[in-house]
């Protein structure tokens, strides 16, 4: 009986606090708009209309959210293990590079579905190995994983620029160096009846799998234990090194898949447009979602919606182009700050009488133990 009540209050807490935070963010943004000379209520109206209002505009949000879901997992998964990985951009770039390499190598020698699967696997493997490398450095050499994964981003981007400017360059791409284009039949299509590419479905599936893996399996339990207290996990006999490598590989493979989707569904070849910040956007999404893969879906939709509304803010309200970044920044600041509010409201707390044992034997000194 009692655990039900507690779960209900906890769920309410973890829903109301982020929503409240977003509302406060909107309020602050309204003040900003008023100062910038726009009517805040009209601005709210256009944000709603251009992000979620109509099916056509909601697709815009979905298109922008798709890569963020996959890239967010690259930060969210290792975070459960206590690692702060920010190498999303690098893993995404490596995934895109590997996918195009495989796609071009096979060409039209195999049926398109096979080529697409091969490209997906190649992208996942490349991204996975990239982040697993950061995990290995952490485990075997005690290199700070945040710094190493950040630096790996620069290496990946440099490698991308080198390859598309040199060995992989299509000589006909004169003024924007690119690889040779993928064969049109090997491109990923759109979900029937929409203009949203399949990356959205991959993102949703990956987030759900990640959630189940972390929350509902012994493997996930082991990872969370190691994330909670690494020494306790070692004493309990958990293979911490193995866990680190596997989780990092899975995390990187999600970002790698995002890179594959970007080249196989959008760009058609690999060039500098692969490196436009989906990785960094994913970090924000992961933190705002408190590293919960299901929450990451909704956060990705929120960010996608914010980005989708950027155009109408500029066009109908004459606000500067950086407004959308201000909006995004405000929402994230407030969401991150709201993290410190958990447990502060007595309403969401489990009632003490539910925890207290029914009939404690009256002896001095016992009370204080109960309270703790």
């Amino acid at each position: 009986m009692s655990w039900r009540t507690i779960a209900w209050r906890k769920t309410l807490e973890s829903t109301l606090i982020p929503f409240g935070a977003i509302l406060v963010g909107l309020l602050l943004f309204g003040v900003f708009c008023a100062v910038a000379g726009a009517n805040p209520f009209a601005v709210y109206g256009s944000i709603w209309k251009s992000a979620f209002g109509k099916w056509s505009t909601f697709q815009n949000t979905l298109i922008r959210a798709a890569p963020l879901m996959l890239s967010a997992l690259c930060t969210a998964l290792p975070a459960r293990l206590g690692l702060v990985i920010i190498g999303n951009e690098g893993a995404l770039v490596m995934g895109g590079l590997a996918a195009v390499s495989i796609g071009l190598a096979i060409g039209t020698a195999a049926p398109p579905l096979m080529v697409q699967i091969a490209m997906g696997l190649a992208g996942m493997a490349a991204g996975g190995i990239w982040i697993a490398f950061a995990g290995a450095l952490r485990h075997y050499r005690a290199v700070n994983e945040t710094i190493s994964s950040l630096l790996l981003n620069y290496i990946a981007i440099a490698l991308l620029n080198h390859l598309v400017g040199g060995p992989m360059r299509d000589p006909s791409s004169l003024n924007k160096p690119s690889s040779y284009p993928l064969a049109a039949v090997n491109m990923l299509g759109t979900i029937p009846g929409t203009r949203v590419h399949w990356g959205l479905v991959y993102g949703l599936i990956a987030c759900i799998i990640a959630y189940v893996l972390i929350q509902r399996t012994t493997f996930g339990f082991a990872a969370r234990t190691a994330g909670g207290n690494i020494r306790a996990a070692r004493i309990a006999g958990l293979p911490v090194g193995q866990l680190t490598l596997i989780i990092c590989f899975l995390a990187g493979s999600c970002a790698g898949l995002a890179g594959m989707v970007e080249v196989a569904a959008v760009q058609g070849s690999v060039n500098e447009s692969l490196n436009v910040g989906y990785g960094y956007g994913g970090i924000l999404v992961a933190f705002a979602a408190r590293h919960n893969p299901i929450a990451a879906i909704f956060m990705a939709l929120l960010v996608g919606g914010i980005l989708a509304s950027g155009g109408s803010l500029q066009r109908t309200h004459g606000l500067p182009d950086a407004t959308v970044l201000v909006f995004q920044g405000l929402v994230f600041l407030v969401v991150l700050y709201s993290d410190s509010l958990y447990g502060r409201f007595s309403f969401f707390k489990e009632k003490p009488q539910l925890v207290a044992p029914p009939s404690p034997p009256p002896s001095p000194g016992q009370e204080s133990v109960i309270v703790s």
């Binding site: 056509s56 620029n161 058609g268 436009v276 950027g310 155009g311 182009d321």
Partner: protein, 388 residues
């Protein structure tokens, strides 16, 4: 309670409403048609402009935004729909779609080079009635949709003139060029600048540094500083926003020549002149053509629009305070010759900086020559290399 109506009443009522409806319809019909004939002169035409960076970057995007703003103030019937900071991803496809669907844009100018393939091509097939003009000169007859056009200017003519001013102003004979990538468009500017400088002072050299990307403010500042330390006393650049280069040059008290837009406000002492885009002429021309009912699809507007100083696609900034009268005279003379076609920049014999002949002795490569479009060398006098 029931309502009792005789058949006669019902018929009368129906007749009355029909008549009322008909007259009202007729009335509005008349009003609409008459206002149509009145309004043809200032029926607004919505033009959509998309920029890859901010509109006030003192560079590539500002040049386009200034052109757009000028036609908006020139023609009362032009309505602008503008979006800045749009990356070359699905974001630009969504922006174009929204401009067409929500703002009713009939003509789009997605200005960044990377918007073309696949984004513009995809949207152009989806919206065949909308005209797409892309800056970069990539259109190929028969390959790309009919409602797509390309425009680009030979701004290297203006760079040649700026090179003359730089060459005659430099005391050390060493010029600096900070460039993003070794691609044909950029190489052509570096080469024309150097050829201009060496046409008046053959011993001049141009040190080139490639930063690797279009917006690398830190590397651009470092490159400028290291050039000053090497004794270079005039710098210019080909990056998206020349702001940092110009400001650093001014801070280090050397001269600079601008690119893309007018940067004299950033370097009031050292700004000599610059190669600027002048899109207002072209944009006004296109807007008037569209207004007159011409389209790309029907061939009323050519698919490839190109031009240099003569056609008003680009211009040379007003000379700064430090420019001598001798330099002004030499630059104006070259400008006049370029405009009437007496001067061809790529006229043999030209060697590259490894000693190989790239333009033969009696060869003349005019601006339209496709050989210039795939330039992959640096001319003699340029210090640096193309290989990455």
């Amino acid at each position: 309670m029931r309502l009792h109506l005789s058949r006669r009443q019902v018929i009368r009522g129906l007749l009355a409403t029909t008549a009322f409806g008909a007259t009202v319809k007729l009335g509005t019909g008349c009003a609409a048609s008459s206002s149509d004939t009145v309004a043809t002169d200032d029926q607004p035409i919505t033009l959509g402009f998309i920029y890859v960076g901010p509109k006030d970057d003192y560079g590539y995007n500002q040049a386009h935004a200034e052109g757009a703003a000028q036609i908006e103030s020139k023609f009362s019937w032009v309505k602008l729909s503008e979006e800045a900071n749009v990356p070359e991803t699905t974001a630009v496809a969504e922006s174009m779609r929204s401009m067409i669907d929500s703002d009713g844009a009939q003509v789009l100018f997605p200005t960044s080079f990377g918007y073309f393939d696949p984004h513009i091509l995809k949207l152009a097939t989806e919206y065949p009635e909308v005209q797409f003009f892309h800056c970069g000169g990539l259109y190929q007859e028969g390959v790309h949709p009919k409602n797509v056009g390309s425009y680009y200017g030979y701004i290297d003519e203006a760079q040649y003139v700026a090179g003359i001013v730089a060459g005659l102003t430099s005391k050390t004979g060493k010029l600096g060029f900070i460039a993003a990538k070794p691609i044909p468009q950029v190489l052509r500017n570096i080469n024309s600048y150097t050829l201009g400088a060496r046409s008046v002072k053959p011993s001049t050299t141009t040190q080139v540094i490639f930063t690797g990307n279009w917006a690398e403010p830190i590397k651009e500042a470092e490159a400028t500083n290291s050039m000053v330390d090497q004794g270079i006393d005039v710098v210019t650049c080909h990056v998206d926003s020349p702001k940092v280069v110009m400001e650093t040059a001014e801070k280090r008290s050397i001269f600079c020549t601008g690119y893309h837009a007018n940067q004299s406000a950033l370097a009031p002492k050292g700004y000599l002149t610059g190669a600027e885009w002048d899109w207002a002429n072209l944009y006004a021309q296109i807007a008037e053509d569209v207004k007159a009912g011409k389209t790309l699809t029907e061939g009323g507007i050519p698919h490839l629009l190109r031009g240099g100083l003569k056609d008003g696609f680009c211009k040379v900034s007003d000379y700064g305070l430090a420019v001598s009268s001798e330099a002004k005279q030499a630059a104006d003379e070259a400008k006049a010759k370029l405009m009437d076609g007496r001067l061809v920049i790529y006229k043999g014999e030209i060697k590259d900086n490894t000693g190989a002949v790239v333009v033969a002795a009696n060869e003349e490569l005019k601006q339209l020559d496709p050989k210039l479009e795939s330039m992959n060398y640096l001319v003699e006098g340029v210090l640096g290399s193309v290989g990455s």
